[in-house]
């Protein structure tokens, strides 16, 4: 066993532990990301069997969800730290992977740990880990894709095709933003394909790169058809809240026009700021078309995906998007063509990326990044969605709650348990669907006029939000949610 192979697990363990410690410290100051809460809520519902296994299998995005369910089933005592642990583990292994590839590619005994530290401690990477496992998986995907794209035109190896193809699957299944990323990459793949193959059979060249993604998508639709009755069944259970996009997109072009593009522009600039090594590599690789085209394709891809995400109204906070520049920087460092083995220039560029990331994380005023920044600076942190937090406080005191929990799983996470909820899969919920209301002591309904529209309770009882229900009294009221509790009969 080489020294490298001995050190890599140690780096993974160290990085994973440090990341977990950081996440726990953030949690202690009140920071849990909206998507983290959402994930934990759905995990609680799944493990309490309040979500049917068919709905678990058809859920999108599946990877972080399945990972969290498996981890929570194996180690139930972990409780709400489960998503954090998953994110820290994935992050730790990723950092270990960076270290191993840096060592394999000629980084010296000091240069490799230094570069790994500059990448692993990058504020935007830490922000991604704090967001939850889904975004760490996106980082994985970007890193693997970048490694494959850098090498494909140079080495003509099938391994690089496999890397690209599997990275696209990983990106597509990790996060809704991944769908935009996989769509955005299409034109840029042409830049990294060996020209002779592309000239001879362009359609086949794209087919081989995209087949796993297309086949996975078709399989996902098929699984939805089998278990959900329709190929697009997952859309029924997908809401912005469950998709990990937080309480709303960061852009709203319809309302704000071009000003709505500001977060996208910030994110795009942030990508460059987090990855100055990419820009430098583009400049330094004249005369090396495989590397130059690859770095151009990768930077162009991330920037284009940012704009597309904004246009599709799917842009998360700019710091998260800009953070995708960090795994790209890691790949650039590995493939950097000059200056071995001291790597001073590479390290300086990674340091510049770290400073850029710091500036960007300060400049991003989105609510989630703002909360994260406050927690990181030791300041009190407001809840991610005060409306849901208050709702959870109310529901903590009750059992026998008829609640479309899948529409707002964060409430379950904030409530701390799924027991006592009649969610969509329970008999009580289905009886309620017959119009009786069943035995529910508490009814929770979402405002049909809210940006998310009606939940399933609202669809069953269209007038419940506005008019309430006979025998029930309103105990909670907000613009999005109302809670009605059954009026207790006065003792005789």
């Amino acid at each position: 066993m080489t020294r490298n192979r001995l050190w890599t697990p140690a780096v993974m363990l160290l990085a994973g532990t440090a990341l977990l410690a950081l996440l726990l410290a953030l949690q202690a100051r009140g920071h849990v990301s909206g998507s983290g809460l959402d994930l934990w809520g759905r995990t609680l519902l799944a493990n309490a069997r309040l979500i049917a296994i068919d709905d678990i299998l058809t859920a999108f995005p599946p990877l972080s969800y399945l990972g969290s369910i498996v981890l929570a089933s194996l180690f139930p005592w972990l409780g709400p730290t489960t998503p954090s642990l998953l994110a820290a583990m994935l992050g730790g292994v990723l950092v270990g992977g960076w270290f191993a590839t840096l060592r394999d590619n000629g980084f010296g005994r000091w240069a490799a740990p230094a570069a790994t530290l500059l990448l692993g401690a990058n504020p935007l990477f830490l922000r991604a880990v704090a967001e939850g496992p889904a975004f760490v998986l996106l980082h994985w995907g970007v890193w693997l894709l970048a490694l494959g794209m850098f090498q494909l035109r140079r080495g003509h190896r099938v391994n690089d095709i496999i890397l690209i193809a599997l990275a696209l699957v990983l990106i597509g299944l990790s996060h809704p933003l991944g769908l935009v990323l996989t769509f955005a990459v299409l034109p840029f793949l042409a830049l990294v394909m060996p020209p002779d193959r592309l000239r001879d059979a362009p359609a086949a060249a794209f087919l081989v790169l995209l087949f796993p993604l297309l086949f996975t998508a078709a399989s996902f639709l098929y699984v939805n058809w089998i278990f959900g009755g329709a190929p697009l069944h997952f859309l029924d259970t997908l809401s912005r809240e469950t998709a990990g996009l937080g309480t709303g997109a960061e852009t709203n072009l319809a309302d704000d026009g071009l000003r709505g593009l500001h977060p996208a522009l910030l994110a795009a600039i942030g990508i460059i700021a987090a990855c100055p090594i990419g820009v430098s590599m583009f400049v330094r690789t004249s005369g090396m078309p495989p590397l130059r085209f690859a770095v151009l394709a990768l930077l162009g891809w991330l920037v284009s995906a940012t704009i597309l995400a904004a246009l599709f109204d799917l842009l998360p906070s700019p710091a998260l998007v800009a953070g995708l520049g960090v795994p790209l920087a890691a790949a650039c460092a590995v493939r950097w063509p000059h200056e071995r083995p001291a790597r001073r220039e590479t390290l300086l560029l990674l340091l510049a990326g770290m400073i850029g990331a710091l500036v960007l994380s300060m400049a991003d005023d989105s609510s989630e990044t703002h909360r994260w920044r406050r927690a990181a600076l030791g300041q009190p942190v407001p809840p991610p969605d005060p409306d849901l937090a208050e709702l959870a406080v109310v529901l903590k005191q009750h059992d026998g709650i008829l609640f479309d929990a899948e529409a707002a799983p964060a409430v379950v996470a904030l409530r701390g348990r799924a027991a006592g909820i009649f969610s969509a899969e329970t008999q009580a919920f289905q009886l309620a669907g017959l119009g009786s209301g069943g035995d529910a002591k508490v009814l929770v309904v979402r405002n049909h006029a809210s940006s998310f529209g009606s939940d399933r309770i609202g669809r069953m009882f269209p007038e419940l939000y506005d008019l309430g229900r006979p025998g029930y009294v309103r105990v909670f009221d907000s613009e999005r949610w109302r809670v009605y509790a059954r009026r207790e009969k006065a003792p005789l």
């Binding site: 190896r157 099938v158 391994n159 095709i161 086949a204 086949f215």
Partner: protein, 628 residues
């Protein structure tokens, strides 16, 4: 510029002076001899510019020796020794007869070198006679025909019976199989659903292991390929002809006279000095049409024709086992009749052997097809072979899993081949078996990036026949090497044994099981029946569904990757039609399984020469020969 040897120069001048050849023929033969790296007389004889009888009789007269035809007055068998056969064939010199109390030695290459050799071997008192090269070769074959014929069939079975497929199922295997069937029957009778679930689970886990293993193989195989190929190519450029060893090329053929010109042309194009090539065309004694065609083409001048006496089983390995005993090379390679090896293949292999540790006993080259664009089947077959040879076998090599050798273009060290008693004539994929046997005996197989192009089957019926033989052979190989599981594990390691099970066992078993699962899936998908629900409890259902989707998707993807290396991406879209190819494979698997029981040693002959490309190749080969 290279020149003819003194002996050849003298011979040429002498024949021209005698008026036996023209000056124009002498000039052309001289340049051909230099180009081919062979001797002048060989060229003259191959071109039929001089009759063999005339040539050797003239030569005998020149040296004042008798000229004898060994066909009419054969050597005395008592004077020959089996252990010297290689020397007889190498030196073209044999003890002939004792006449007047004096041993007479017959030689087909009279000259100073032969005289030195003869005196060193048999002493100074012997007398010499001249004979022809084919006569020496034929006479030695005739004398040892019976002994070698027996050895060709039974050597392995008699000396290393546990490694021979002569016994298809050992008593232990039969007992185990019967006991398993009994336990299964009892379990089915008592707990039918639970038993079926367990069987289902085992098969699902096997599928999962199978495709995960193959994915790992592809990844491992792709890692270091290019670097090694470049290393070997640069070492080939450093080779000097005089350092090259003698190389035996065996070409077993059976009723394939039409493809002989392709073979002759391809062998002549080999970038290897002809004088160091020992090419043997191995023909069944009764195959007169091919023998006559070879003689008509004048191949005997350069290639030796080995006539294999009739015996059962009539298989390619038996023919090779017979022929390799006459080989005089340090290395040996097998090519099929329609093969077109890349010209530098032998040199690359020599380099690979030179660079490898001593326990590397075989080098396998890649196989692929020259008629890949002929029809759907040839395209799929090309994808299949590209996946196998370009991606999977390098993975096996990288992970040190036993490599089942491919049908041709496997190059052996002769000493190891002899030690292992060569091929198993009872195994219809004798090369695959030999690869595994080598690993079990502590030897290694390496791969070299050089391709031999063959004719892909153009007919589905013919393809199923060929594939059924391969799968039957894999079953034989699996049964042979699983006889001693602990020994297998000890000699190949855990990964090697697992790899053997998944690669050999998986290939044949998936062909057998696929139709079962396809049928279950089709019934369920069409009828939406709930009758099967009890066999698929949730976890198993998800596993089976994962296998169905991920497994099929992965294998299609791997098929798509296969042509990338060779820049044949236009074949990639055909991977989407691989389902029918798998169906054909399953048909072949069931046919092979049936034959394993009914006709285990029957050799399903693949008919070559059906391709339009082959006809064109033959025409081109004839043209090139004439032009040469």
């Amino acid at each position: 510029m290279a020149e003819l040897t003194a002996s050849d120069s003298w011979t040429g001048d002498f024949l021209a002076e005698q008026g036996l050849i023209t000056l124009a023929q002498l000039n052309e033969a001289s340049s051909l001899a230099l180009r081919w790296g062979t001797s002048l007389p060989d060229v003259l004889l191959a071109r039929s510019w001089i009759d063999a009888d005339t040539y050797y009789a003239t030569l005998a007269a020149r040296f004042g020796m008798d000229y004898v035809r060994l066909r009419d007055t054969p050597p005395d068998p008592a004077l020959l020794r089996e252990s010297d056969v290689t020397n007889y064939m190498r030196e073209l010199t044999v003890p002939w007869q004792v006449r007047d109390g004096r041993l007479h030695i017959a030689t087909a290459r009279p000259g100073p070198e032969a005289i030195v050799y003869i005196r060193r071997t048999w002493g100074p008192e012997v007398a010499l006679v001249v004979t022809t090269k084919p006569d020496v070769q034929r006479a030695v074959q005739d004398i040892y025909s019976e002994r070698f014929s027996h050895a060709a069939v039974f050597d392995l079975a008699e000396r290393d019976p546990v490694m021979s497929a002569q016994t298809v199922f050992t008593p232990g295997q039969l007992l185990f199989g019967w006991a398993a069937a009994t336990v299964g029957a009892i379990a089915l009778a008592l707990h039918p659903i639970a038993t079926l679930i367990v069987l289902n689970l085992i098969m699902s886990l096997f599928y999962l292991g199978n495709f995960v293993f193959k994915a790992i193989l592809i990844w491992a195989g792709g890692s270091q390929q290019h670097a090694r190929a470049r290393e070997i190519e640069s070492a080939v450029r450093m080779l000097r002809d005089e350092d090259l060893p003698i190389y035996t090329v065996l070409v077993p053929m059976f009723r394939e006279p039409d493809v002989l010109p392709i073979l002759a042309n391809a062998l002549r194009k080999l970038d290897y000095p002809t004088s160091k090539l020992d090419i043997k065309i191995v023909l069944e004694e009764g195959d007169h049409e091919t023998i006559d065609a070879a003689v008509r083409l004048g191949l005997e001048g350069i290639f030796e024709i080995i006539r294999v006496p009739p015996s059962q089983p009539q298989t390619k390995p038996k023919a090779c086992n017979y022929a390799f005993r006459f080989a005089r090379g340090d290395y040996l390679v097998i090519f099929d009749a329609e093969d077109k090896p890349e010209p530098d293949q032998l040199k690359k292999v020599v380099v690979a052997f030179n660079q490898s540790p001593d326990n590397v006993a075989c080098v396998q080259c890649r196989l692929n097809y020259y008629n890949r664009d002929e029809n759907w089947l040839t395209r799929m077959f090309t994808l299949d072979y590209s996946l196998w040879f370009d991606l999977m076998l390098p993975g096996l090599e990288q992970l040190r899993v036993p490599i089942p050798l491919g049908g041709t273009s496997n190059h052996f060290r002769m000493d190891v081949l002899r030690e292992l008693h060569a091929w198993d004539p009872f195994n219809v994929t004798e090369d695959a078996d030999l690869g595994i046997r080598m690993t079990q005996k502590g030897y290694e197989v390496r791969l070299v990036d050089s391709t031999t192009f063959e004719e892909a089957n153009v007919s589905q019926k013919n393809w199923v026949r060929q594939r059924s033989r391969w799968i039957k052979g894999y079953m034989q190989t699996f049964l042979v090497h699983i006889r001693r599981p602990v020994h297998l594990l000890r000699t190949t390691g855990t990964l090697g044994a697992l790899g053997f099970v998944f690669f050999i066992g998986g290939t044949m078993l998936s062909g057998l099981l696929n139709p079962v699962f396809w049928a279950i899936f089709a019934i369920w998908a069409i009828t939406q029946t709930t009758a099967l629900d009890s066999l698929f409890p949730p976890i198993l259902l998800y596993l089976a569904l994962f296998n169905l989707l991920a497994g099929n998707g992965l294998f299609m993807f791997l098929m798509m990757l296969a042509p990338f290396r060779r820049r044949w991406l236009q074949l990639t879209p055909f991977s989407l039609t691989v389902i029918w190819y798998w169906a054909l494979m399953s048909a072949a698997a069931w046919k092979g399984a049936w034959q394993l029981v009914t006709k285990p040693f029957y050799w399903e002959k693949t008919h070559h020469g059906l391709s339009k490309h082959t006809a064109a190749e033959v025409a081109q080969a004839v043209r090139e020969q004439q032009a040469a």
